[in-house]
């Protein structure tokens, strides 16, 4: 039978969606048609269009304006420096977590890795071998700490690759085990950096920017470029978005995922090193619960737990949102008990709004 060639295409649901001028699916469905029509032209403005697609930044703006109005101390250059330094710890790990989560994996062991790296960074300086090195003794210490982070990441990645066990489970185990290693290594004690040059680093500023903030911003830029511009970065989306397609296209998924685990290990270690410069010390309980805050920040930034979606700009927004909330609530003297409630509620609220506005078309089925 010959297919009729007079047939016209008719596919209301599946037609190519216009890329530029549509509101997010959820908005189109929720808003009255007239309102939607009125709002749509606003999307001609590139800034507004960008904000609609990055809702976390809308939230960052709201938080920013809110605290600027209600707190006397929030809107100040010095405070912004503080916020950047404070977010750098969670922020650096979040960069790595974005890669791992876009890959469709997760890493719960970052808090423990951070603690182990910090312990190495502080302890190795005082090894007798480097006693005559002066301030240079910091260099091998930091290098070793970063290597430890990369190594632990590689171990996680290797196990995920070779055993095929879900990353959630592998890194949940590692979260306990690496914390155990921290206690083995430190013997429960805090380490203290004898060399004040080490802790002075955290007070360093380059122009208006504290060194720690600068490192964080540079790393953010680097990972943003890595994820959006390089072959490895694009493959990260491919592996997370459709693993089978990636395999068929000849991407070596195992080593690829391992590299991303090494990257997050590196950032967890770097974060640990920078944190230890702020303290001039390393404590064995450092970084507890950080994995949960990092995941929260990354998810707020629009990265999907299922993989394939997310970017560094969103993650930066998520990290800043949490950082500003904490900072602002400190400045406003919100009682500690309420901080838990506010942060938890906001997380759920943002998730809810994201679901309403950015949901994908399910054709209105009641499932």
């Amino acid at each position: 039978m010959t297919p009729p060639d007079t047939v016209k295409e008719s596919r209301p649901v599946q037609a190519d969606a216009p890329v530029e001028q549509a509101l997010p699916q959820g908005l189109e469905e929720t808003l009255p048609r007239a309102t939607a029509d009125r709002i749509r032209p606003l999307l001609d403005n590139p800034v507004l269009r960008w904000l609609v697609r990055n809702p976390i930044w809308v939230f960052v703006l709201i938080v920013f304006v809110f605290f600027s109005l209600v707190s006397d101390h929030f809107f100040a250059a010095r405070n912004f420096q503080n916020i950047l330094v404070q977010t750098s710890t969670i922020g650096l790990i979040a960069l790595g977590m974005t890669l791992v989560m876009v890959n469709g994996n997760i890493d719960l062991s970052v808090g423990a890795t951070l603690a182990l790296a910090a312990a190495f960074a502080v302890d190795v300086q005082s090894w007798a071998v480097f006693a005559t090195w002066g301030n240079w003794q910091i260099l091998p210490a930091v290098c070793l700490a970063l290597l430890v982070g990369i190594g632990l990441g590689a171990l996680n990645g290797f196990i995920v690759w070779k055993t095929g066990v879900d990353a959630f489970i592998v890194t949940l185990g590692a979260m306990l085990g690496i914390r155990g290693l921290v206690f083995v290594y430190t013997g429960e004690q805090s380490f203290y950096a004898m060399n004040f040059a080490y802790s002075d680093f955290s007070a360093l500023s380059i122009g208006p920017l504290p060194a720690l903030a600068l490192i964080f911003l540079l790393c953010t830029l680097a990972v943003h470029l890595l994820l959006s511009r390089t072959v490895h970065g694009r493959n990260t989306y491919a592996v997370g978005g459709n693993r089978e397609a990636a395999v068929n296209a000849g991407i070596r998924v195992g080593p690829h995922m391992m590299i991303n685990f090494m990257i997050i290990g590196f950032f967890a270690a770097l974060s640990g090193v920078l944190l230890s410069t702020q303290m001039g010390a390393a404590t064995p309980n450092l970084g507890r619960d950080y994995e949960l805050w990092v995941i929260t920040a990354v998810v707020l930034g629009g990265t999907k737990l299922t993989g394939g979606k997310g970017d560094i700009i969103g993650t930066l927004g998520g990290v800043l949102a949490i950082g500003m909330l904490r900072n602002g609530m400190n400045l406003m003297n919100v009682p500690a008990f309420y901080v838990y409630v506010v942060l938890g509620s906001i997380l759920i609220a943002v998730l809810f709004l994201d679901k309403r506005f950015n949901r994908t078309a399910d054709g209105g089925l009641r499932l």
């Binding site: 039978m1 010959t2 297919p3 009729p4 060639d5 007079t6 047939v7 016209k8 295409e9 008719s10 596919r11 209301p12 649901v13 599946q14 037609a15 190519d16 969606a17 890329v19 511009r229 390089t230 072959v231 490895h232 694009r234 493959n235 989306y237 491919a238 978005g241 459709n242 089978e244 397609a245 990636a246 395999v247 068929n248 296209a249 000849g250 991407i251 394939g308 979606k309 054709g363 209105g364 089925l365 009641r366 499932l367």
Partner: protein, 509 residues
């Protein structure tokens, strides 16, 4: 029918000899031979589970054969990875779309082989230039920077095909390429295949649709149970011979002409509207008849079924079941009213793959099959046995996870699940999609039989032969509206095609 192309007396582009592949407990391929000449369309046929997909995965480097040789352009090769196969010029276009939705078309086309600059950066300029050139060659309306998630299914298929053109392909394998295409899109696809063929590329074409195979192919190779059954010249054979080779017997493909004994009107729908899917739909179904719904994908047929099954809320209209006006807000209510739906997507909507055959079959009524507070295993097994025998489901035991069964048997489990509910109205959506000829014919027979037993049956299908074969009445849909209703006696193919393409219909929008 395509003109006969004289087969060039050259070296085959690809030759597989004596390929053996075993999985634990199964010999999936048992000494299979297969060859493709340059510029030839060679169809590969076989029932589900005959080994077509395994053979193609061996060809694409995704499986390593346990025995046999692969010869490409006269040289014996080993292909350990899909990438190596691609470098040898073997490209597989997958049945299930193998794209990354959040990435651009260009990135998908060059997935795994993005052009690089220094420091591992992507060379976007080269990427877009190359991919745009390919898309243009395929006469695509979109460009390389379009995000795949925003493209229609047909255009996504085009991206898949574009992938094949990135390399100097020797052999391109199409695995069920038309499953999700409209007829218009099929025409474009066939043009492309003919283009490739003219360029001397060897084409392997896998499909269950006989009409396509006879339109396109030069030769046909048939597999059965992992074994090679023979190769036929398309011009010198017919559907009967091919079918016999596939299933080992011949099939009666004619329509059951027993006149329907019609009962009362069981289901009546009036002015039902559910924008944007369908508007002002009205029809009725009587006990003992099969009503076929025919139309293009997206014409609103499936949406009507979903609305009747309580999965969609409708803005206006009236539904009457057995004479009583009802509202249906959930599948539970639909089931209580005696409506059953065999959904179009078996794996996603029909079955819980890791559950046993029995548990799947009794899922909608498990709360009623109880002894005290407990599920009565005996009652469940009784139901399973009854429908296993009635539908001739092939499975070693009720404990078997349903995911390991063949497509046809899976579909029968879904049908059995809904028959066991003793429904008044049975809605079947695309009952034979992706199912081999043998099972297909059995299912058609079953639908007729059900009607004869007094069920009211609605069959939704995109395949005209199917609709013609099983229906007592045919409802044609176009763009969310019913354009015409035919009785089985008066319907002609031409009229049906016109009715579903909106010809002669005034659309108010």
């Amino acid at each position: 029918m395509t003109d006969m192309i004289e087969r060039p007396a050259r070296e085959p582009a690809l030759r597989l000899e004596g390929i053996v592949k075993t999985f634990p407990g199964v010999r999936a391929l048992d000494g299979v031979d297969f060859e493709v000449m340059p510029g030839e369309v060679h169809a590969l046929l076989g029932e589900n589970g005959a080994g077509k997909s395994t053979l193609m995965k061996v060809l694409a480097g995704m499986y390593q054969p346990d025995g046999g040789t692969i010869v490409i352009a006269g040289r014996e090769v080993r292909m350990a990875t899909p990438l190596e196969a691609k470098r040898q010029g073997i490209v597989l276009i997958h049945q299930e779309l193998s794209l990354v939705p959040e990435m651009s078309a260009a990135e998908n086309i060059y997935l795994g082989e993005l052009p690089r600059k220094s420091f591992g950066r992507v060379d976007w300029k080269t990427l877009y230039a190359r991919s745009d050139a390919i898309l243009e060659r395929l006469r695509c309306s979109f460009r390389g920077d379009a995000t795949v998630a925003h493209l229609s299914i047909a255009n996504q298929q085009m991206v898949e095909i574009a992938r094949a053109l990135t390399v100097d392909a020797r052999v391109v394998v199409f695995d069920e390429p038309t499953a999700s295409l409209t007829d218009a899109e099929k025409v474009v696809l066939f043009d492309i295949i003919n283009d490739l063929k003219a360029q001397g590329v060897g084409i392997v074409y896998i499909s269950h649709r006989m009409d396509e195979i006879f339109t396109l192919s030069d030769r046909i190779t048939v597999l059965r149970d992992g074994q090679y059954r023979g190769t036929l010249d398309t011009a010198a054979t017919n559907e009967d011979e091919v079918t016999r080779l596939m299933i080992g017997r011949s099939l009666d493909l004619s329509r059951d002409t027993t006149p329907a004994r019609l009962g009362d009107t069981v289901l009546e729908v009036r002015d039902l509207t559910c924008a944007p899917h369908f508007e002002d739909v009205a029809f009725s179904v009587r006990a003992g008849e099969v009503v076929g719904f025919y139309g293009l994908v997206g014409a609103g047929r499936t949406a009507i079924a979903e609305a009747l099954f309580g999965l969609r809320s409708c803005e206006s209209g009236m539904i009457r079941v057995a004479g009583k006006e009802v509202t249906i807000d959930s599948p539970e209510q639909a089931i209580a009213l005696g409506i059953s739906l065999v959904p179009e997507n078996r794996k996603e909507q029909g079955l819980v793959l890791q559950m046993s055959c029995r548990d799947n079959m009794t899922l909608p009524q498990v709360q009623d099959l109880t002894a005290g507070p407990f599920v009565s295993s005996g009652a469940e097994i009784a139901i399973f046995d009854q429908y296993r025998d009635r539908l001739a489901i092939k499975t070693p035991s009720w404990r078997q996870p349903v995911g390991v069964l063949s497509g046809g048997n899976q579909q029968k489990i879904v049908i059995g699940k809904w028959l066991s509910m003793q429904p008044r109205v049975l809605i079947v959506d695309e009952p034979t999609r992706g199912i081999d000829v043998g099972s297909k014919s059995e299912i058609h027979g079953l639908l007729r039989e059900l009607a004869a037993q007094g069920y009211a049956v609605i069959v939704i299908s995109s395949e005209m032969p199917e609709v013609l074969r099983v229906s007592d009445r045919i409802v044609a849909m176009y763009h969310g509206r019913i354009t015409r209703e035919f009785s089985a006696d008066e319907v002609t193919e031409d009229a049906l095609v016109q009715a579903i393409s909106g010809i002669g219909v005034e659309l108010v929008s």
